[in-house]
């Protein structure tokens, strides 16, 4: 069969039902194959957004997301989502067209060395040099993208090779890759030592991250945390792995985390890190990070261990394998829970003294935090929420109390503005029965607003709740706090008429400027068929607090 058809067959053999992309000269054979293939192609309006949609699809479902683009500009438009998927460990496969093999290296029309350009931001990439490799590489790409620490894999397919005739039978089992053996099982001796240290700790903190979500190990994580009264905090990426309203819950940690979580890290004697990577948004000033603590570090990627913070008890393995063993070992020690009494007293003190709070407006003005709370109520705390990057993202993390994993999709590591809308589209495609709401920033949304067309064209009923503060709010906040209020290029100027803009693309457009109307507006938006944009005018100069200034220590939290 034609190699391009084999490519589609291989995708189907991997269980793919949806792909996101944009066609062009170099991937025409693939699109010709898609004409007959039993695959749903979602036609994005910018390759970057095809990529983010694939990420949203993957994050919401745990399955591999697939995006396609043509050579040259199509492929270079994918660089941002590829880098984003790398930073946030999102299982994704990107299939790019490449110019004909006889043109490679000649600066041919729409030639770009996309494997070269993306080398630093892929988990792996495969440049096809023989048509028979095409389906094999797809299988390899899926295997690599989805196992171990997940990530993006690029398959670059020259146009002529995808037109060649080849024999294809789907491979059985997993591909043989001599240099790729991701660890799975944690070392039981290490696990035992960790359990014994934890049972002796008087001020322990469990610090979980996106790895728990990746591993689909939230149940196991909850089980482990509840084997004693262990205080739990999560990163932005881990939210939902542990239910936010819970008596052991300290709140999120890090730059915009709660004082309780950050102070607990600061005073902890043992920190058990599960599937998190000691990002600088967590550690702040490294030399003053958790100065009294010893560290247990559970991660599937050995290179994460001791990368930023030296681990005392490293455990390399899949969280889904390690956590149940930890729970068993820990329980078997019959630990004395009363040793945590003092610690909990201290934690409760912080919780009462420093709850998350904001000053609500006395009038009709909508405070951004209030908007997130209203969203939480309107959706019963039960929607898939995507977000862009900025203040609204952090307020969502603080005030939308996630109780389940894969309900909070955001760009944490790369911090890509414009992630929210395409990710929502991808998430809704993956989970059509769930309510999917994008909490957008007005600075971010305008970067990707052509994707209104994608949702309208394919009738993907996502809801966009736009937190419209007329600013690049997060940058404005930094200029206010750390750059002497020298505001430069942070005002959005004349705002587009958002409801009309959405309507121009075939959406329902709505607006709300009055606090007393907000819940009802949201309710209406959620109940209206098809894609809906709700433009919510919020306070223009609210700051997101609390905050650890960049490079400072937890003790120096402000706000």
């Amino acid at each position: 069969m034609r190699a391009a058809d084999a490519l589609c067959e291989a995708l189907k053999a991997e269980g793919v039902e949806h792909v996101f992309g944009i066609p062009g000269g170099a991937n025409l054979p693939t699109y010709d194959a898609l004409y007959d293939a039993d695959l749903v192609h979602i036609q994005a309006r910018h390759e970057q957004c095809a990529g983010h949609a694939a990420e949203g699809y993957a994050k919401a479902s745990g399955r591999v997301g697939v995006a396609m683009a043509t050579s040259g500009p199509g492929a270079t438009n994918l660089v941002t989502p590829i880098a984003d998927a790398m930073m946030d460990s999102v299982p994704t496969v990107f299939v790019t067209g490449q110019v004909r093999t006889d043109l490679i290296g000649t600066d041919g029309f729409q030639e770009a060395d996309v494997t070269g350009i993306t080398l630093p931001v892929v988990k792996h990439s495969l440049l096809v040099t023989d048509p028979r490799q095409i389906p094999d590489y797809i299988h390899e790409a899926f295997h690599i993208a989805s196992t171990g620490r997940p990530g993006p894999v690029l398959v670059d397919v020259p146009q002529d090779l995808s037109r060649a005739e080849i024999d294809y039978t789907p491979i059985e089992g997993t591909p043989e890759l001599p240099g790729y053996k991701p660890p799975t099982e944690g070392n039981i001796k290490q696990i035992r030592i960790a359990a014994k240290a934890l049972a002796n700790a008087r001020r322990p903190v469990i610090y979980g991250g996106g790895g728990i979500v990746n591993a689909d190990a939230s149940e196991e994580f909850r089980e482990f945390c509840s084997s004693d009264r262990l205080p739990v905090t999560l990163t932005v990426m881990g939210l939902g792995a542990f239910p936010a309203p819970h008596e052991q819950w300290l709140g999120m940690l890090g730059m915009h985390g709660t004082r309780t979580a950050n102070y607990a890290m600061d005073e902890a004697d043992l920190i058990v890190c599960v599937g998190a990577r000691f990002d600088d948004r967590i550690t702040g000033k490294l030399s003053e990070f958790a100065p009294r603590a010893k560290f247990v570090h559970i991660d599937v990627d050995p290179a994460e261990i001791s990368k930023n913070v030296p681990a005392h008890i490293p455990i390399v393995g899949d969280a889904a394998d390690v956590l149940p063993k930890m729970t068993r070992e820990y329980r078997a020690l019959n630990p004395d829970s009363s040793r945590l009494e003092e610690w909990w007293k201290r934690i409760r003190d912080w919780q009462t003294t420093y709850p998350l709070r904001y000053e609500d407006s006395p009038d009709s003005e909508i405070k951004p935090q209030f908007m997130v709370e209203a969203m939480y109520e309107a959706t019963d705390g039960d929607a898939i929420i995507t977000s862009d990057v900025g203040q609204h993202q952090m307020w969502a993390a603080q005030y939308y109390h996630f109780t389940e994993p894969r309900r909070w999709l955001n760009s944490g590591g790369l911090g890509t503005m414009g992630f929210g809308l395409p990710a929502a589209i991808g998430a809704k495609v993956a989970r059509p029965d769930d309510t999917v709401v994008c909490l957008a920033g007005d600075g971010s949304l305008v970067m990707v607003c052509q994707e209104f067309a994608t949702a309208a064209f394919h009738n993907i009923p996502v809801k966009v709740f736009l937190m419209n503060n007329g600013h690049f709010g997060m940058v404005r906040q930094w200029q206010e706090l750390f750059w002497d209020e020298r505001y430069k290029s942070v005002e959005m100027g004349p705002s587009p008429n958002w409801p009309k803009l959405a309507e121009a693309f075939g959406w329902t457009g709505m607006q709300c400027t009055d606090k007393s109307q907000l819940r009802e507006s949201m309710q209406t938006a959620l109940e209206t068929d098809g894609p809906v944009l709700l433009d919510v005018h919020v306070t223009k100069d609210e700051n997101c607090f609390p905050m650890i200034p960049a490079g400072a220590a937890a003790r120096d939290m402000v706000g």
Partner: protein, 185 residues
């Protein structure tokens, strides 16, 4: 029977130590890599991206045509070697990495030196060559080209000897290394 709560069976936190990051010595890493397009670019890219400095790098075939060997030397006083090898391991085309034990390793480098050799110093340079078991591989009226093989130290020391005479050009391969076979019983 379960242990009493808080018995000495538990691990004392004070006793826990994190492993040391810097070893303080030179390391030779021997990598077996799949002979695929772009492998070297991946490795070089990883080093520049992570800020690791390679002192020497040598690439060549092995007994298996699908596999190449890359030998790297780096300074363990500057880089956490453990982190370097773990990052390298993440490259899918890297099959095997060996951090060569100094005592169990035969390491060799080859170097070519073109040294200015006026008539009066020619004999002395040839004498050095002799001592270092080096070969004169090219001769001209004003210069000698010497081929030296040996450990990095030996080549460094040869360089120091001939430099005063006027070192016109030097080319070094970087070390390649192989483990010593175990003594047979």
């Amino acid at each position: 029977m379960m242990g009493e709560p808080g018995t000495q069976d538990l691990v004392r936190l004070e006793d826990l130590e994190a492993s040391r990051q810097l070893t303080g010595r030179k390391h030779i890493l021997s990598l077996l890599v799949e002979n695929k397009p772009g492998v070297l670019a991946r490795i070089a890219g990883l080093f520049s991206r992570r800020g690791f400095n390679i002192d020497t790098l040598a690439v060549g075939p092995t007994e298996d045509p699908d596999v190449s060997r890359i030998t790297l030397t780096l300074d363990g006083a500057v880089h956490p070697i453990d982190q370097v090898t773990k990052q390298l391991h993440k490259l899918v085309n890297v099959i095997k990495i060996r951090d060569m034990e100094p005592d169990g390793t035969v390491a060799r480098e080859m170097a070519l030196f073109r040294v200015s050799a006026a008539v009066e110093s020619r004999a002395e340079i040839m004498q050095f060559a002799d001592i270092y078991e080096a070969k004169i591989v090219d001769v001209s009226r004003r210069s000698l080209t010497v081929e030296v093989t040996g450990s990095q130290d030996k080549i460094d020391s040869f360089e120091r000897m001939v430099r005063p005479h006027g070192l016109i050009e030097m080319a070094r391969t970087g070390e390649v290394a192989i483990t010593k076979s175990r003594p047979e019983h």
